[in-house]
C-alpha cells in the first residue's frame, strides 16, 4: 500500500526482501547503502542478534528522484530468515508494495529456498495479498560459490510464473541494483494503474 502525500508531494513505497536464513538479504541492503549518495539515503537500521543475525528487520530508507513533481521514497526491509521468526516476518509484510525473493543458489540450500518461498506465499495470503498480483522479483544470490544449482533449474523450481529474475553476488554487488530497479519499476508501474 503505497502512501501518497499530496501535502509534502511524496510517494512512499515499502519493499521487502524475503528468503531463507543467510541467503544474503542483509548483504543486499548493505551494498545498496554503501553505494548510495549520502543525500539519497537515511540511516540503515539493523535489529540484529549479537552474532549479526537479523532479529526483527533491517531498514533502509532511500529517496530517489522526482516523478511528476513527487519525490519517490522507498523503504527497504529485510525479514529474519530463520523458521522460528515467522511471527516477525508476518508483521513486516504488512503494507508491502513489492517483494524481492532472495534465493541462496547453493545446492544444499534448495530445500530452504522452497520452504521459504511457500512461507512467503502463505504469510502474504494471511494479510490478504496474492504473490501473483504483487510487484515481485527473484534474485539468485551467491553465484560466486562453486556448488551452485544452474540458474535454469532454480528458475524452473522457484519461478514458475516467470517474474523478472536476476543472478547476483551480493557481497560484490553484482546484480544488486538490477534487482532493486526491476522491483521499484514494477511498484511505480502499479501506481500508474491507480493502485
Amino acid at each position: 500500500m503505497s502512501f501518497i502525500n499530496y501535502s509534502s508531494r511524496e510517494i512512499n513505497c515499502k519493499l521487502v526482501y524475503y528468503g531463507p536464513g543467510l541467503c544474503g538479504k542483509t548483504t543486499n541492503l548493505q551494498y545498496i547503502y554503501n553505494k548510495t549518495r549520502p543525500d539519497a539515503k537515511g540511516k540503515m537500521i539493523s535489529l540484529a542478534t549479537e552474532t549479526e543475525r537479523t532479529l526483527f528487520f533491517d531498514f533502509l530508507p532511500l529517496s530517489l528522484g522526482e516523478i511528476r513533481g513527487f519525490r519517490t521514497r522507498f523503504h527497504l526491509y529485510t525479514v529474519p530468515g530463520q523458521v522460528f521468526y515467522d511471527a516477525s516476518r508476518k508483521l513486516i509484510l504488512k503494507g508491502v508494495d513489492g517483494v524481492c525473493f532472495v534465493a541462496d543458489s547453493q545446492m544444499e540450500r534448495m530445500e530452504a529456498n522452497i520452504e521459504s518461498l511457500e512461507n512467503l506465499r502463505v504469510n502474504l495470503q494471511e494479510q490478504g495479498y496474492d504473490l501473483d498480483k504483487l510487484p515481485y522479483v527473484i534474485q539468485y544470490n551467491k553465484r560466486d560459490l562453486p556448488n551452485v544449482v544452474p540458474v535454469e533449474e532454480l528458475s524452473e523450481v522457484l519461478n514458475p510464473t516467470k517474474v523478472p529474475e536476476f543472478e547476483a553476488v551480493a557481497t560484490t554487488g553484482k546484480g544488486v541494483f538490477d534487482t532493486l530497479k526491476a522491483l521499484a519499476k514494477q511498484v511505480l508501474t502499479e501506481l500508474r494503474k491507480g493502485g
Partner: protein, 159 residues
C-alpha cells in the same frame, strides 16, 4: 482487503499538523510525531527537525506491530498505548483510529500526567479527522501518476 493506496491531501495533512503543533505546545513535550502503522511519517512538531524522524517512525511502527502481535497471541484487544520511561526523555505512544500512532517524546519540562491529559484530547481530534478521511471517496479525482512513462521511471535510477 485494505484500500490499495493511502492517499493524503494537503487539507488533511494540514489539519493533522495543527493538532500536532497544538499538542506540542499544550503538553510542553519535546517532540510529537504522527506516524502511520506502516512506518511512514505523516506530521511532526516540536524539535522533530533535530531527530532522525524516518528511523524513529520505522522503529515505532515495528514496536507497535510487535506489541500488536503479542496482544493477538494472548487474545487481548490491541494495546491502546505504551509508555517507556527514560532517564532524560520518556516516550508515550497511542494508537489512533487503529491505523495511526501518535508519539510524544517529553522530558522534565512536563509531567506524564499532563502529557496523558493533552494526548487524550489530541487523540479525539485526530480520530475525527481520520473518520472524515475514511468517508471521502477512495480514489483521487485525477491520478497524477496515470501519465508516468517508462522513461520517467528509468530516469530515477540514472545518476
Amino acid at each position: 482487503m485494505l484500500s490499495p493506496n493511502a492517499v493524503m491531501y494537503e487539507e488533511e495533512v494540514r489539519k493533522i499538523q495543527e493538532v500536532a503543533d497544538k499538542l506540542a505546545v499544550d503538553s510542553r513535550a519535546r517532540t510529537i510525531l504522527v506516524v502511520d502503522k506502516n512506518g511512514q511519517l505523516i506530521a511532526a512538531a516540536g524539535n522533530a527537525h533535530e531527530l532522525d524522524t524516518t528511523s524513529l517512525s520505522s522503529l515505532v511502527a515495528g514496536n507497535v506491530a510487535a506489541t500488536g502481535g503479542i496482544a493477538k497471541l494472548i487474545e487481548e484487544e490491541e494495546f491502546t498505548g505504551q509508555f517507556h520511561e527514560g532517564k532524560g526523555i520518556s516516550v508515550h505512544l497511542s494508537i489512533v483510529a487503529r491505523r495511526i500512532i501518535l508519539v510524544v517524546l517529553f522530558d522534565k519540562n512536563t509531567t506524564h500526567g499532563l502529557v496523558r491529559l493533552r494526548v487524550r484530547k489530541a487523540v479525539e481530534e485526530l480520530e475525527k479527522i481520520f473518520a472524515e478521511m475514511a468517508q471521502r471517496p477512495q480514489q483521487p479525482q485525477v491520478n497524477v501518476f496515470a501519465e508516468i512513462t517508462d522513461a520517467d521511471i528509468d530516469n530515477l535510477f540514472n545518476d
